[in-house]
């Protein structure tokens, strides 16, 4: 029991850090929350709504995303897109990520 729980916790922690990078990387074109969620899922990253939506708001508050309400199919949707600030940050995050992956690959192989 304890083992499964700590496994879940570690996996959760690992994914939490990755989601920011995943979201930023997929918001080059505007997406609304649910479409982004599906896009990430299609690419193989299942994210909980309860994690993604607050995260989008936080990234917007930090100035990394911009958002806008649009009415589509008679339904208002909030579209998020990466900001100039976010665009500047993304390559650095990618580089950081590549570094982590290569280090961990070396360590685990």
């Amino acid at each position: 029991m304890a083992n499964t729980e700590s496994l879940e916790n570690v996996v959760l922690e690992l994914r939490r850090g990755v989601i920011v990078l995943a979201a930023l990387s997929q918001l080059g074109a505007a997406e609304y929350g649910y479409s982004l969620l599906k896009k990430l899922a299609d690419l193989g990253l299942e994210v909980d709504q309860g994690t993604l939506y607050p995260l989008l708001r936080r990234l917007e508050a930090q100035g990394l995303l911009e958002s806008d309400w649009k009415i589509e199919e008679s339904r208002p949707r909030r579209y998020y897109v990466i900001s100039t600030e976010g665009k500047k940050l993304l390559p650095k995050l990618k580089k950081e990520w590549t570094g982590i992956v290569s280090v961990m690959d070396r360590m685990l192989s």
């Binding site: 309860g50 939506y53 309400w69």
Partner: protein, 335 residues
């Protein structure tokens, strides 16, 4: 109102104090509508209540959903927690130390006492220390919770966030530098004020000797003690400020702003004291019992005392306002 509307309203109800609540509600509704529509088209039937129920169950209980949007999940967060424990330790140690000394003095001044009296005095003293400790803890937690919520992160960077530079060890003294004994003295005296006004107010009085030994007549009236809770907040805030100064060793803009805030509250309290009934509990009668037997002299003296205290309060307002202006000036000129 359908189930989704109710669910959204329920989540919103738990986000009353969160910025952008309407936005969150709208986004949540639009997401749930999208999800429902997708499920309906997959099933090939129009969305019904059972489908809504299933969707909402998966989305989770409203309080849990609301929680994910809470920007302040902590009362006192990791940013200021080390500082909170640092100050708390100093203050609690000062409380225990000060009150223990007070207890020893009390035992000495009342001796000889019987074993039962001794035990009861010690017991009461210990209970007093515990209750003061709890009160101090509560006040400090309140002040830090307010800092956590309302102080911008940039203004209250803790030491841990800064890169430490060994060159700081040989730096010349700066005009903004704080001498280490100043905040320590301030903490000690503020603490003494806190403990006397709150737990031993009978000590504040006029002492005189008559046939029955030393007598004391209370000096401050109810009009003063009514403002004690707010004064307590000011004093605890002063302790926090001085702890910050002790830690950072210099006046930052954040510390100056905090200090100005405290002083403005002080001015407010003093002005309220000035405008309300006299804060002195002296009456011609209490003076007479204190040895001034001539009723005329007692009356005059009493009047004089009440006028003098008004002047003293007035000067205190002026002095505090001057300090606020000085702090503002330093903030503007500080590079």
């Amino acid at each position: 109102m359908n189930l989704i509307d109710r669910y959204v309203a329920e989540v919103g109800r738990r986000l009353l104090l969160v910025k952008g609540r309407k936005d969150i509600e709208n986004e949540l509704r639009s997401t749930l509508d999208d999800m429902l529509e997708e499920r309906a088209s997959k099933a090939g039937t129009p969305a019904d209540e059972a489908m809504q129920m299933e969707l909402l169950k998966e989305y989770g209980a409203p309080h849990k959903v609301a929680q994910t949007y809470n920007p302040h999940p902590y009362l006192i967060g990791p940013r200021i927690y080390p500082f909170f424990t640092f100050i708390l330790k100093i203050v609690l140690a000062a409380v225990a130390f000060g009150l223990s000394i007070a207890l020893v003095i009390q035992i000495i001044s009342q001796s000889p006492m019987s074993a039962a009296e001794f035990l009861s005095t010690v017991g009461k003293g210990i209970l007093n220390i515990i209750s003061v400790g709890i009160a101090v803890f509560g006040n400090m937690a309140l002040v830090f919770a307010l800092i956590e919520r309302y102080a911008p992160a940039a203004d209250f960077k803790m030491d841990e966030d800064k890169e430490w530079d060994p060159a700081a060890l040989k730096k010349e003294p700066e005009p903004d530098e704080v001498k280490i004994w100043e905040p320590i003295l301030a903490i000690v005296f503020t603490f003494i004020a806190l403990s006397i006004f709150n737990f031993n107010p009978q000590l504040i009085g006029i002492y005189y000797l008559n046939g029955d030994g030393w007598q004391v007549t209370p000096l401050l009236s109810e009009a003063f003690f009514r403002w004690l809770p707010l004064l307590n907040v000011v004093w605890v805030a002063e302790i926090v400020l001085n702890g910050m100064l002790l830690r950072s060793g210099k006046w930052t803009n954040g510390a100056r702003l905090f200090s100005i805030g405290i002083k403005l509250v002080q001015v407010f309290i003093i002005v309220m004291l000035l405008m309300g009934p006299s804060i002195l509990a002296l009456t011609p009668e209490s003076m007479a019992s204190g040895g001034i037997t001539d009723p005329d002299a007692a009356g005059k003296l009493n009047e004089l005392a009440h006028t003098a205290i008004k002047f003293a309060l007035g000067f205190a307002v002026l002095g505090t306002v001057v300090e606020v202006i000085k702090s503002l000036y330093k903030m503007v000129t500080q590079k």
